[in-house]
């Protein structure tokens, strides 16, 4: 399936700004990991409290069985896109 041309013909010379752009991009990826990691630790904290206090642990484990994989897949997609797109430039 031929890819649309996308305005790729004009290339700017790599310079100082190029490195900052890459740093910001990887920072964004790190931020996403941090955010989703935070949510997952929060969910585990909630489960631990529910387990410790015997506060209907079944419901909370049920939710986490669903929620954590969903967040992990989301993280997977983000990283896949980041690596896919950024990684591609370096290898060419």
């Amino acid at each position: 399936m031929p890819s649309p041309s996308g305005g790729g013909d004009v290339r700017r010379a790599p310079g100082a700004s190029d490195r900052t752009v890459r740093v910001i991009q990887w920072a964004m990826a790190g931020l996403a990991v941090l955010f989703i990691g935070g949510i997952i630790t929060w969910i585990t904290h909630l489960i631990r409290t529910a387990w410790r206090l015997g506060d209907v642990p079944s419901a909370s484990i049920g939710i986490s069985l669903v929620a954590i994989p969903v967040f992990l897949t989301l993280l997977g997609v983000i990283l896949y896109v980041f690596v896919g797109l950024l990684g591609d430039r370096s290898e060419r």
């Binding site: 996308g6 949510i39 939710i63 967040f71 896949y80 797109l85």
Partner: protein, 451 residues
């Protein structure tokens, strides 16, 4: 090939390059409304929730209704664009991004309503430290945060090629575009990664969206209150969400079509299809409402009947019959014959549905609370200027986010339009053949090529 395409899609890039007087006017008006909302919220934060119309039996009112309403609208984006992408409906190309933007922007406002409704917003972080999964509110928090991340990702990934175009074509905001474009060159590998990511997200986002609104309905159905404690609330809220989502999407489309002159892209055929979808959802919504009220009426439990009478003939009759009028009768009248003036009719229908769905949430939340089981004294609830201010502020904030988004990024996905022009025709043709019964070919036709 590329330069001719450039000129044809220039109208999509126009709003980004130059900002007309209309833009400043709308932003001015919107920030005025936001100011009213901010003042309203500041007085409430300062003096306490007493400045609202809420009182003892009716402890929830406007803010919870707004919460459910805005989360409802958020379903416009991901659900519709995800379903259209999966079903590879070609007419989705100019619509998907607009829908996804609605979702992301309105989710912030929806989650914000809960914070506005808190008596002690300064103790918000207690949810983090002392969170408790037994409470449906925590299920809400989890599913909304999942839905928010999913819809942001689902908005961002299809935008990457467009950002690359902006990076190369638009002089302004060079750093922003280069960073966000993730070095997109349109190479074969990058395209494959992008398509696969979009495919995964389209599949993933639908269950999350459905879970969000059923969990929002669990906030009500998990209690023992009459006319709340019923099993139909999950699907009923999801249907209501899709219904109000489509209406909101149509309104947004009409607004931007007029504002940015996108007549070429958002053609009457799009509005016809969405109108029919809206009509189907209206009937589906009515089916669920009818089912719920019939079971309540037929069972005739005293508490249920008290709330029932309050809605049908009691103090809430204008809201209830207004809801039925705006959610069912107007859409049917407008959408049944979509001959001439399609866009006008579809706009009227979706505006009435937006109002209707707000009324529906109000009718679900307030009458049950104002008719308690014990003779506690009926509370008639009427919102004060603070609550109206907050509602106006929320709408204005959502519109402002949306308008600012259109200033930064194209509101219609350029690369998908181009892909549609170049690839779409052939693809549809091939696909059609695969649907038709294979007449002459032998049984061992070569295996189906991927989706």
């Amino acid at each position: 090939m590329a330069d001719r395409a450039d000129t044809r899609d220039a109208v999509l890039l126009a709003p980004i390059e130059l900002t007309g007087r209309g833009f400043y006017l709308t932003v001015g008006l919107l920030s005025l409304l936001i100011l009213w909302g901010a003042i309203a919220y500041w007085t409430q934060f300062d003096e306490g929730l007493g400045v609202t119309g809420l009182h003892q039996p009716v402890s929830w009112g406007f803010y919870v209704t707004n919460f459910v309403f805005f989360i409802g609208i958020s379903h416009a984006g991901t659900l519709i664009s995800a379903i259209l992408r999966l079903s590879k409906a070609e007419w989705r190309r100019p619509i998907t991004r607009m829908a996804e933007v609605i979702t992301v922007m309105v989710l912030f406002i929806g989650a914000g309503q809960i914070l506005v409704d808190l008596g002690r917003p300064d103790r918000m972080l207690n949810i983090i430290r002392y969170g408790r999964y037994q409470s449906p509110l925590l299920w809400d928090a989890t599913s909304i945060s999942a839905y928010l991340t999913a819809s942001i990702v689902y908005l961002y990934i299809p935008m990457i090629p467009d950002i690359a175009i902006l990076r190369d074509r638009v002089g302004k905001r060079k750093l922003l575009y280069t960073v966000l474009a993730l070095g997109w060159q349109g190479t074969e590998h990058q395209q494959k990664v992008l398509n696969r990511a979009i495919a995964i997200m389209a599949v993933l986002v639908i269950p999350i969206a459905v879970s969000v609104h059923s969990v929002v309905s669990f906030v009500f159905s998990m209690t023992l209150q009459p006319m709340w404690h019923s099993t139909i609330f999950g699907p009923y809220f999801v249907v209501g969400a899709i219904f109000s989502g489509i209406a909101a999407l149509i309104v947004a489309m009409v607004a931007f079509r007029k504002a940015y002159g996108l007549h070429g892209y958002l053609k009457p055929i799009h509005f016809r299809y969405l109108g029919q979808l809206l009509l189907v959802m209206a009937l589906l919504w009515f089916y669920f409402t009818f089912a719920e009220y019939l079971t309540g009426y037929y069972g005739a439990e005293p508490e249920e009947m008290k709330v029932f009478q309050a809605k049908f003939s009691g103090p809430f009759w204008p809201f209830f019959w207004g809801m039925v009028l705006t959610n069912l009768i107007i859409p049917i009248l407008c959408l049944v014959r979509l001959g001439r003036r399609t866009i006008g009719k579809v706009l009227i229908a979706s505006l009435s549905v937006t109002v209707g769905m707000w009324l529906e949430r109000f009718i679900i939340v307030v009458p049950t609370l104002s008719n308690p089981r014990l003779p506690f004294g009926e509370g008639i609830y009427w919102p004060t200027w603070v609550e109206w201010g907050e509602l106006a502020g929320s709408f204005a904030l959502f519109a402002l986010f949306y308008v600012l988004f259109t200033k930064l990024f194209p509101v219609i996905s350029i690369w998908e339009i181009r892909e549609g022009r170049e690839v779409g025709l052939k693809e549809v043709e091939e696909r059609l053949l695969t649907y038709l019964p294979d007449t002459a070919e032998p049984r061992h036709a070569e295996p189906e090529r991927g989706w």
